[in-house]
Amino acid sequence: MSTMLSKRVIPCLDVQDGRVVKGTRFVDVRDAGDPVALASRYDREGADEVVFLDITASIERRRTVVDLARRVAESLSIPFCVGGGIGSVDLAAAILRAGADKVALNTAAVRRPALLGEIAARAGSQAAVLAIDATKRNGGYEVVVEGGRISTGLDAIEWARRGVAAGAGEILLTSIDRDGTRDGFDLELTARVADAVRVPVIASGGAGSASDFVELFTTTGSDAGLAASIFHSGEVVVSDLKRALAGRGVRVRPSAEAA
């Protein structure tokens, strides 16, 4: 492929009732539970994008997730995506109107793939991200939902193709087997999905170190790597990761520019 397009590094924040759920290292951030303050910090460190995964379960959820998008849009100078429990075009449109660049759909897209196309028709396919949670099964990969608790019987590679045909402009691919293990990305899964579709693929689940990102980008066709805890804990700093990637010949946007 002839392109100068760089590989993206994407921190993910889990948010509940407008607050970051998992602990973070940023002692100098006045309010470490504030998703806006944390995302701004990643922005300054050279993150290429931020994903917010809203896990609010209360009936206030719609208001808090739209409010989150509005507050983030006011401060962030890089793109951001909001996912988690988005089940209607109306909610997706409200989040996008509030300033999010993309919405990620998971369970709702499995239930009704046409949702992807309906969002794409209103906001463009780039705004409709298909989030796929996959687990290795019988030599292939199966799509699971509800955090891996429910099997769908769908083949992950086939589902990625169908999702793109339905209107998704990007795939956010999470290996449920690797999620939280820090054993590295599932390279086989990532490579198979990246080879099956022409839209960008974000790999997620299992990142434990900078070398996992190097391996991801040098052995698969994925466009981006996403991680949460290693960034929040401070084990991996985005600017250091960018330098490590550049040192291994991976094209990245240097952090110095973002400073």
Binding site: M1, T3, S6, R97, A123, E170, P200
Partner: protein, 203 residues
């Protein structure tokens, strides 16, 4: 006052916030014809399908107002599909003409590359433009698009980017410039472009 043309399309909240960050004091997201003609500069956003954007702009009578503003010499910045709308037509929706303020058409990205072209890519400036002054060569900007402009006149090309071959990243002349990338989403470098635009037009 900088007018962001509101025809119901695009990430207007982010654009408004980015212009404030870039130093603009008075930014109005508006579909008022009066505002657009009273503005010191006009920003035309756009995202999604070309035909939908062009159609909505026309339905609200804003195509005429943008054209009048342009004819009166009000600086005009088109972003993403807003850039594509400055041109005559698009392969995406051949039946719906653009504004025709720049000569040329919009074509789908070609080559063995991922489409949409999504992410940070290096921009090569081929002709100086005051709003891009201070941007180092090969600086990274955030792109997300599946189509790109092809100006009739090579002299209208201001910057290019490599994605399956040379793709036009900036085009226009004088007080009219289209950017295929999103300065409002391009970190500090994007803010610096918007700052140049704000200083040059609305200071």
């Amino acid at each position: 006052m900088i007018a962001i043309v509101d025809y119901g399309v695009g990430n207007l909240a982010s654009l408004e916030a980015a212009l404030h960050r870039a130093g603009a004091e008075d930014v109005r997201v508006t579909r008022s014809h009066v505002d657009i003609l009273a503005a010191k500069a006009v920003v035309l956003p756009g995202v999604g399908r070309f035909g939908h954007c062009a159609g909505e702009l026309r339905r609200l009578g804003l195509d005429v107002m943008v054209r009048v503003a342009h004819d009166r010499g009000i600086p005009l910045l088109g972003l993403c599909v807003g850039m594509q709308l400055l041109f005559n037509e698009s392969e995406e929706d051949p039946g719906t003409p653009g504004l025709g303020l720049c000569r040329g058409r919009v074509r789908r990205l070609r080559g063995d590359v991922r489409v949409p072209h999504t992410g940070w890519n290096q921009v090569r400036i081929v002709r100086p433009h005051p709003w891009l002054a201070g941007v180092p060569d090969e600086a990274y900007f955030y792109f997300v698009h599946s189509y790109a402009v092809e100006p009739v006149d090579d002299g209208a090309i201001v910057a290019t980017v490599d994605h399956g071959g040379a793709v036009i990243a900036a085009a226009g002349s004088g007080g009219t410039l289209g950017l295929q990338f999103h300065p409002e989403k391009s970190g500090a470098m994007g803010t610096s472009v918007l700052r140049s635009f704000v200083r040059a037009t609305a200071a």
